[in-house]
C-alpha cells in the first residue's frame, strides 16, 4: 500500500526545468555597438539615428565600441563569470526585415567561437533557502531594427522598419536550465536587475531595454522555447502559462514536441511558431571585418577595482553596520537608489541607533516602497528626501504625532513637503472638495497650453501642472485628489 502511494505521489510531482536567455540593452552607452550613432533612440523620429554602418550599406564596416567591452567586463565580474581573454565576433546569418546586413554580429560558443564570458552565478533566496542559479555564458551582440505594426502583428496591414534601434548594444545572459519554478525565475530576475543597476551599464526601467526567451520543459519530455517576452514582469506570467499548457498536453495523453513558441502579451497565451525540423541554420562563422578582441588580465583587474560595492557585499555591510536582519538588508539593497537613500537618511542624524535604523528601514521598505509600487514610480521620480523620513521618525518617537497620523502624511511627503509644512498645512483647512480642485485644474490647463502639449509626449509634465494647482491653493489642495483629477482631465484632452 505504502509503496503504491509513493509511486502515485512522485508521478504527480513533475520536475520543471527552466533556462532563461535575457537580452539587456546597454542603455548607458553613448553610442551603438559598432558605429558612432547615438544609443539614445527612444522617442526620436524614425530612421534619424542611422549611418552607413548601422544601416549595413554596401562597403561599410563595423568598429567595436570599447566602452561596450568595459560594460560587459563589469557585468561578467559582478556575475562571477570567467572572462575569455580572446575571441572573435561571429556572424549569425538569417534573413529578416529588421536585419539590414542579412546577418547579426554576435558571439557564439561553438564552431571555434567563444562567448564573452562563461559560467557565473546569481544566488537567490526563496523561503529562507538559498540557491545558486548557474549561468552558462554572457555575450555581446547588436540589436536589430524595430518593426512597427498597426495593432497586432497578425492583422497589421503593413510593417514599418525603424533602424534607429539597429546596432544598439545588447548583452545576452544565458542560464543553465536549473530554474525550477516561475517564482524562482522572478527572484532570479530581481537579483539580476539589481546587479545591472549597480554596475551602471543600463537603465532597465526604459521601455524595450529587456527581452527574454525561456526554455521550459517537464523532466523526461521535450522542451519548448518561448520567445518575445518583453519585460521581466511578463516572464513569470509566460512561464506559468507554458507550464500549465505542457501539463495539460501530457494529461490529455499527448506528447510534447520540441518547438519554438511566441508569448502573446495581450492574450496571455503562447502560440506555436515552428517545430524542430524547421529551426533555422544560422551558419555561424567568424566576423572578419573585426579583429579578435583581446582582454588582458590587467584590464580586468582595473575594472574590478573601479566596480562599486555590489548588492551582496552591501547587504552584509548594512546588516553589520546598522544591525539589520539578513532579510531586511537583503531587501534594502535590491534597488540601489533605495539603499543609497537609506544610508544617506540614517547617517544624517547622529542620534540614530539600532531602534531608529530598524524603524527607518521599515518605513522605507513598507510605507514608501508600497506607495512607489502603487504609483508605479521609482524613488528618484519623487521629491521625497532622506531627511523627511528622519524627521517623521523623530516626531513619532518624541510623541508629537502617532504612527497612524504620520502615514496620512505620505502623499504630501512625496511632493517634497517637509514635515513641519505638512503639520502647518494639516492644522489649516485642507482643500479636499473635488469641485474646487477641478475648477483650479481647469484653470491651470487653460493657462498652460504648452505644458499640456508636453504631457502628450511625456507624462511627467503632469508634475509641473500639479505644482501650479498647489501654487494657486497655497499648497492646501489635497495632493492625491489633485493628481487624480488632473490625470483624468489630461487624459480626456489626450483623446
Amino acid at each position: 500500500m505504502l509503496i503504491k502511494e509513493g509511486i502515485r505521489l512522485s508521478s504527480q510531482e513533475v520536475k520543471i526545468m527552466i533556462g532563461l536567455e535575457i537580452h539587456i540593452q546597454l542603455t548607458n552607452l553613448k553610442t551603438k555597438l559598432f558605429c558612432s550613432c547615438s544609443n539614445n533612440y527612444r522617442g526620436k523620429d524614425p530612421n534619424t539615428y542611422v549611418c552607413p554602418i548601422c544601416l549595413g550599406l554596401p562597403g561599410s564596416l563595423p568598429v567595436i565600441n570599447k566602452l561596450a567591452i568595459n560594460f560587459a567586463t563589469r557585468l561578467a565580474l559582478s556575475l562571477d563569470c570567467n572572462i575569455n581573454h580572446q575571441f572573435w565576433f561571429f556572424r549569425k546569418n538569417y534573413f529578416y526585415a529588421d536585419l539590414p546586413k542579412g546577418f547579426q554580429i554576435s558571439q557564439y560558443p561553438r564552431a571555434g567561437g567563444k562567448a564573452f564570458a562563461d559560467n557565473g552565478k546569481i544566488t537567490i533566496r526563496q523561503n529562507n533557502h538559498k540557491k545558486d542559479i548557474i549561468l552558462n555564458r554572457i555575450h555581446l551582440e547588436e540589436d536589430p531594427a524595430r518593426l512597427v505594426h498597426k495593432g497586432s502583428i497578425a492583422t497589421s496591414p503593413y510593417t514599418l522598419v525603424d533602424y534607429n534601434r539597429s546596432g544598439v548594444c545588447l548583452i545576452e545572459i544565458v542560464t543553465e536550465p536549473v530554474i525550477s519554478s516561475p517564482e524562482e525565475a522572478r527572484e532570479f530576475l530581481k537579483q539580476l536587475k539589481s546587479i545591472v543597476q549597480y554596475t551602471g551599464i543600463s537603465n532597465l526601467e526604459l521601455e524595450g531595454s529587456v527581452r527574454v526567451d525561456a526554455n521550459i520543459s517537464i523532466k523526461g519530455h521535450e522542451r519548448s522555447e518561448v520567445k518575445n517576452i518583453n519585460s521581466f514582469k511578463e516572464v513569470e506570467r509566460a512561464l506559468k502559462h507554458e507550464i500549465i499548457r505542457q501539463k495539460n498536453t501530457l494529461k490529455r495523453g499527448k506528447t510534447l514536441m520540441q518547438e519554438t513558441r511566441h508569448w502573446d502579451e495581450k492574450r496571455r497565451v503562447t502560440i506555436s511558431l515552428r517545430t524542430k525540423e524547421f529551426e533555422a541554420d544560422y551558419r555561424y562563422f567568424p566576423e572578419q571585418d573585426l579583429v579578435p578582441i583581446e582582454i588582458e588580465n590587467d584590464y580586468i583587474q582595473k575594472i574590478k577595482q573601479e566596480l562599486p560595492e555590489m548588492p551582496r557585499e552591501r547587504a552584509l555591510r548594512l546588516s553589520r553596520d546598522y544591525l539589520l536582519s539578513e532579510f531586511d538588508s537583503d531587501n534594502l539593497v535590491i534597488d540601489k537608489d533605495i539603499a543609497d537613500f537609506y544610508e544617506e537618511g540614517v547617517n544624517s542624524d547622529p542620534s540614530f541607533g539600532s531602534e531608529e535604523f530598524k524603524q527607518y528601514c521599515n518605513w522605507l521598505m513598507n510605507n514608501i516602497s508600497g506607495w512607489l509600487n502603487d504609483n508605479n514610480k521609482t524613488i528618484k521620480e519623487t521629491k521625497l528626501a532622506p531627511h523627511h523620513l528622519v524627521d517623521i521618525i523623530n516626531y513619532i518617537n518624541k510623541g508629537k504625532i502617532t504612527t497612524k497620523i504620520a502615514k496620512t502624511f505620505i502623499d504630501d511627503m512625496m511632493e517634497g513637503h517637509s514635515i513641519t509644512d505638512i503639520m502647518k498645512l494639516k492644522g489649516k483647512e485642507r482643500i479636499s472638495d473635488k469641485n474646487i480642485i477641478t475648477t483650479k485644474c481647469n484653470e491651470v490647463i487653460e493657462e498652460n497650453a504648452s505644458i499640456v502639449d508636453d504631457y502628450k509626449k511625456n507624462t511627467k509634465a503632469i508634475e509641473a501642472l500639479i505644482g501650479k494647482v498647489m501654487g494657486k491653493t497655497k499648497g492646501q489642495a489635497d495632493p492625491k485628489i489633485t493628481r487624480e483629477i488632473m490625470t483624468k482631465r489630461l487624459n480626456k484632452l489626450k483623446k
Binding site: P58, V63, G102
Partner: protein, 486 residues
C-alpha cells in the same frame, strides 16, 4: 606616365582641362570597342579641371596628383555617384559616402572620370560576368581583358585613363594587369582601408592601383595606404616612401623561383618569357634561388571554399528592401519577395557562389569544408613564411596563360577558377604582390610577371618591379584598341 604628366601640369606645359579633354576624346574614340566604363562623369570632371587650372595659376595647392584622371572600379563607393558592382541588384544605388581611398585620392587632387566595368561583385576572371556585358582586351578585341577589374586594366592599357583603382580578392587586379599589359598591385591585407569597398570576400579583398608604370603605382599606394579608424583590419604601420626607393640597386636581393608556379598547366610560352625576365633580374645582380610552395595545389579549392562562404554572407544584405533592385511581383510573404528579388537581381555566377558558400557554412558541412579550408590556409601561409626565410621576394608568372577568347570559358567555371592558381594563394596568405608586363607572346598578347613580397614589403616588390621595368623598357607601349574582331 602619370608622374611625367604631373611635372608638365606643374610647369604649366599642359592644362588639366586639356588633359581631361584628351582623355574623354580617347574614351569616345575607343569605348565602343572596349567597353571599359559603365558610367562616366565628364561634365563634373571637366568643371573640376577648370577650377584646378584656375587655382594652380593662383599658386594654390591642389594636391600631389595635380588633377590627373582616376578611373574607379564600380564597387568602390563614390558619394552620390552610381556604384553598382556591375549588378542588376544595385541598379540606381548612389552611396551617401566616399570610400576611404576615394577620399584620400580626391584630397590629393585626382579627378574621378568614371567607374569601370568588372565581373559582377568582382566574381570572375574575365569581366564577362558584368550585367552590362564584357570588356574587351585592347590588344586583341576578340579576347577578354581579364577580371574582375577588366575595365580598369583595359582603360589603363589603352590610354583612356592615367590612374585606375582595382580590387583583388583572388587575383582581380593582377589578372587584368597581366592580360592588358599594365602594372597592377595588390597590397598586404590591412595596408589599404576597405571602408567603402563593397565586400566580396572580406578576409581576402584588398584595393590597389592599376597604372601604366611602376612609379605611378608607388605614387598611388603612398596616398591610399595607412590606418583608417573605420576599418578595424587596416594596420597602423608607417607608410613607406615607395617612390623614393624605386631606383635602389637590387644586387643584394635574393629572389625565389617557386617551382610549383612553373608546373603543369602553365603555358610554355608564358614560362619562357617569364624565365627571360628572371634572367634580366639576375643580370641586374639579384641572386636567384629555387623555392618550394608544396601546398600550392590546394590553393584554388581552399580559396573558393573561403571566398564563397564569405560571399554568401556578405551579399545577404541585398534584399531589395532599402536600396537597389526589387522585384515587381510582391505576392507571398517577405521571404518570397526576398527570394524573387535576389533570383532576378543576381547573375548566374553570383548565385552559384552564394549557393555553394551557403552550403559550405551549413550545419553538418561547416567542419568538413569551412574549417578544413581555414586549416589549409594556415598550411599555405606556413609555406610562404618558410620561403621568405630564404629569399626576399618570389618571382613567377601572374597567369597560367595570356588572355583567352571572349566566351571561351564562360560555360566552364572550373577552368575559369583554375586560372587563379598563381594569384589566389597570395590573398590566402595576405601578402602583397604585383604584376608587370614582361613581354608579348606570338599573338602579340602581353605576358604578366608576378613579384610576391613578404608582409608589408610593398617597397621591396616595387623596387624590383621598377628595375625590371626600366631594363625591359616596354612599358610605354599603348594598346591601339582596334585590332581583332568583336
Amino acid at each position: 606616365m602619370g608622374y611625367e604628366l604631373i611635372e608638365k601640369v606643374k610647369s604649366f606645359e599642359v592644362e588639366i582641362q586639356e588633359l581631361l579633354e584628351t582623355i574623354y576624346d580617347r574614351i569616345e574614340e575607343t569605348e565602343s570597342h572596349l567597353h571599359s566604363f559603365v558610367t562616366t562623369s565628364k561634365e563634373e570632371a571637366l568643371a573640376k579641371a577648370k577650377v584646378f587650372d584656375k587655382n594652380l595659376k593662383k599658386g594654390k595647392n591642389i594636391g600631389n596628383l595635380y588633377g590627373l584622371p582616376l578611373a574607379n572600379k564600380d564597387l568602390i563607393c563614390v558619394k552620390n555617384f552610381p556604384t553598382t558592382c556591375c549588378s542588376k541588384i544595385l541598379q540606381g544605388y548612389h552611396p551617401p559616402y566616399n570610400a576611404y581611398v576615394i577620399e584620400q585620392l580626391l584630397k590629393e587632387g585626382a579627378i574621378h572620370i568614371g567607374n569601370t566595368n568588372m565581373d559582377e561583385f568582382a566574381m570572375g576572371g574575365s569581366s564577362e560576368n558584368s550585367c552590362y556585358g564584357p570588356t574587351y582586351n585592347p590588344w586583341d578585341l576578340s579576347r577578354v581583358a581579364g577580371g574582375s577589374s577588366g575595365g580598369a586594366g583595359a582603360s589603363t592599357a589603352s590610354g583612356q585613363t592615367i590612374f585606375a583603382l582595382g580590387s583583388d580578392t583572388g587575383g582581380s587586379i593582377r589578372c587584368p594587369a597581366s592580360y592588358c599589359g599594365v602594372v597592377g598591385l595588390k597590397p598586404t591585407y590591412g595596408r589599404v582601408s576597405r571602408y567603402g569597398l563593397v565586400a566580396f570576400a572580406n578576409s581576402l579583398d584588398q584595393i590597389g592601383p592599376i597604372t601604366k608604370c611602376v612609379y605611378d603605382s608607388a605614387l598611388l599606394l603612398e596616398i591610399i595606404s595607412g590606418k583608417d579608424p573605420l576599418d578595424s583590419t587596416s594596420v597602423d604601420k608607417k607608410v613607406d616612401k615607395y617612390t623614393q626607393e624605386l631606383s635602389n640597386s637590387i644586387d643584394k636581393k635574393v629572389l625565389g623561383v617557386p617551382v610549383e608556379f612553373f608546373g603543369e598547366g602553365i603555358n610554355k610560352e608564358v614560362k619562357s618569357i617569364v624565365r627571360k625576365a628572371i634572367d634580366k633580374l639576375e643580370s641586374l645582380g639579384a641572386k636567384i634561388i629555387s623555392i618550394s610552395i608544396p601546398h600550392l595545389e590546394y590553393s584554388v579549392a581552399t580559396y573558393y571554399l573561403l571566398c564563397m562562404s564569405e560571399a554568401s554572407s556578405n551579399l545577404a544584405r541585398f534584399d531589395g528592401l532599402r536600396y537597389g533592385y526589387m522585384t515587381d511581383n510582391l505576392s507571398g510573404d517577405i521571404y518570397d519577395v526576398f527570394s524573387r528579388t535576389r533570383s532576378e537581381g543576381f547573375g548566374s555566377e553570383v548565385r552559384r557562389r552564394i549557393f555553394l558558400g551557403t552550403y559550405a557554412l551549413s550545419a553538418g558541412y561547416y567542419d568538413m569544408f569551412y574549417i578544413k579550408a581555414l586549416k589549409v590556409r594556415t598550411l599555405i601561409k606556413k609555406d610562404f613564411m618558410q620561403a621568405f626565410k630564404k629569399c626576399d621576394s618570389l618571382v613567377c608568372p601572374t597567369m597560367p596563360t595570356t588572355a583567352f577568347k571572349v566566351g571561351e570559358l564562360i560555360n566552364d567555371p572550373l577552368q575559369m577558377y583554375l586560372a587563379d592558381i598563381l594569384t589566389c594563394p597570395v590573398n590566402l596568405v595576405g601578402i602583397p604582390a604585383l604584376s608587370i608586363p614582361c613581354g608579348f607572346d606570338n599573338n602579340n598578347l602581353p605576358v604578366g610577371f608576378q613579384i610576391i613580397g613578404d608582409y608589408f614589403d610593398e617597397r621591396g616588390i616595387l623596387n624590383i618591379a621598377y628595375q625590371l621595368e626600366q631594363e625591359l623598357n616596354i612599358f610605354r607601349k599603348i594598346a591601339d584598341a582596334n585590332k581583332g574582331g568583336n
